[in-house]
Symmetry: C2
């Protein structure tokens, strides 16, 4: 079992990573004084697959456990779902000693974290991420949100969990598409901060895709460590440091938007965005040819797309210029300067952006 | 103009108090970098009475201004209103440089603060409290909330404003009932922390009720200073220090609940609660007879009720035992030990609570 501390003063917490560590949840949360009554927010698949077992461990340690099941879809990140959950929690929390366990991927983590943030001005919650992507990214850092019709994540809060419990064994039931989606973000961590991680993924791509437990654990550990470090410096994204986590996301988000969130998964879109940003960096003479090629090559090796299909070029360019990362009209890109280091650049000429888009469209 | 700093590290802000200081809003917010586009959340009366003038000052300083008007009622503190406002804000905030101005009493402050807390994980907001009660209490400290059908303030966040602008001239249109309601809380501050304030109110009761500007300004200043001090030590009510602000509120809230929020205003209920708590303190030999009498006498002089009418005794006792300040079955009271000092006591015998209730019922 590996532990990483996220140092945020009074809001500090640990990320605990290991195989089958869910069984130790009782002793892991004991000293945190979270409360006595656990409410597990999850979906019906995860409830059956892991939740009931988790509940057993909790009950053995003296906690009461209830479940709230939400549909397994981005649609669950709605205001309606938030208020349905809070009504249920209000009924359940008669003894005022409730805490929340978010058992799921990004959707359940974002939704449950937001509910925990606003119920009675904040109750304790822990994250038990069930996807590769959630373990290395969304479960860490306290970004919680729900969607409104006007936009994704339009409503939310920065509200830190009290513990992130990343049980590697939970990943072993994921399909290859989900693993690849997480792997795209792992490659991102390599490019922005960790050459050693990047090279590990280069050497062990097949092992990872085939769910080798040791390989997954290593990646979750390295990525969590980077995310923890960045959050410690820039908890609420005000210092521009957390921005480097957006490598690949400017064009990535535009691809998701232009495709109506139907064509590409988040990981696939980010993979394409990373290739495009690497090319922009190369065209600006910030990155050498070989590193640019290595990024694209690793993405390809991971089974992620390297060129764009079925998305209209103009729609994509339009989506890019409406991205929130375009501060007051100026575009902003996270650009690699070598494997393991990125810089943030504003005001990239449109001609260079278009050139990188065109090369994706080939 | 008087300024009080609320020291909360990165979340520090000033409370600015003075007569007609709204006209200086432009220079007061200039250095805060709140944004360029002000959205004023208020009610229709306040919009006409002060809002349009405030908008003029803001425009003169180069800000754009829009209004969102909400009904002047506790019913505005609803999830429905939150999402209506956020939809409007989303449409208005195309340039991503919006900030919120809460112009109103406790309801508008709580609602606007909560909207500011959750829109895009937090935007800047300032409080321009329009009631005596809001200036000395609710506008300071970042407690934001809305009501659900299951309970008042069931949903909320701790989210600090960037400035509290307490313009005393705004109070001059209040009716006597509103002034008395605020005065109850001012007396509370005197009892819990500030003997000098208590004695000032004793000597100047009539002046205050008759809206003497200097007297009001002195009280707003003294109370704001106490509230700021308490919040600095216990921002999120986790250390039990902010608890002392609940003097008079255990029985006060029960009176509001038992009366269905129709019989007593918040200030009236707190006034009765303070008398009851003083009697409990006296019966426990914590407070001398004379101080107990002075508290009741000042409440009476302020034109606030000193005995309970039209509320059923059993209903009241039942409401007391369901109060959230009863932690795990144990009751908890803030009890004065002299004018200017209180202690927190748990597990007060029911017989003593009943005796103080009975004396209120006479």
């Amino acid at each position: 079992m590996k532990k990483i501390k996220v140092n945020l003063g009074k809001r500090s917490y640990q990320i605990v990573i290991g195989d089958k560590i869910s069984s130790q949840i009782g002793s892991l949360i004991k000293s945190l004084q979270l409360g006595e009554d656990a409410l597990v927010i999850t979906n019906s698949f995860l409830k059956k697959r892991f939740g009931l077992k988790l509940a057993g461990y909790l009950k053995k340690s003296g906690y009461t456990v209830k479940f709230e099941v939400v549909p397994d879809s981005e649609k669950s990140k709605s205001a309606k779902q938030v208020f349905r959950l809070i009504d249920r929690i209000g009924e359940y929390d008669v003894k005022r000693r409730l805490f929340i366990i978010a058992l799921g991927g990004g959707v359940i983590g974002d939704l449950s974290g937001f509910v925990a943030a606003i119920y009675k001005r904040g109750v304790n919650y822990i994250q038990v991420p069930s996807t590769f992507l959630a373990q290395i990214d969304s479960a860490i850092g306290g970004k919680t949100a729900v969607d409104l019709s006007l936009g994704k994540n339009l409503v939310g809060a920065f509200y830190q969990p009290r513990l992130v419990l990343s049980d590697i064994s939970v990943l072993l039931s994921l399909d290859k598409k989900q693993i690849r989606s997480g792997l795209a973000e792992a490659i991102k961590y390599g490019v922005i901060q960790d050459r050693q991680l990047f090279e590990f993924i280069e050497k062990n791509t097949a092992k990872i895709i085939n769910l080798n437990q040791k390989a997954l654990e290593y990646i979750v550990y390295r990525c969590s460590r980077i995310k923890a470090k960045i959050i410690q410096i820039d908890e609420t994204e005000t210092k521009g440091i957390r921005t480097i986590l957006n490598y690949g996301h400017t064009i990535g988000h535009a691809l998701e938007t232009a495709g109506g969130y139907q064509v590409y998964s988040h990981g696939e879109a980010v993979a394409l965005g990373m290739i495009a940003a690497a090319r922009i960096a190369r065209d600006l003479n910030l990155l050498d040819d070989k590193s640019c090629w290595r990024i694209k090559n690793l993405i390809s090796k991971a089974g992620l797309p390297t060129s764009v299909r079925s998305i209209n070029r103009d729609k994509l360019l339009n989506a890019i210029s409406h991205d929130k990362k375009f501060i007051r009209g100026k575009n902003r890109f996270v650009l690699p300067v070598k494997i393991g280091k990125v810089i943030v650049r504003e005001g990239i000429p449109l001609s260079i952006i278009k050139k990188s888009i065109n090369s994706l469209m080939k």
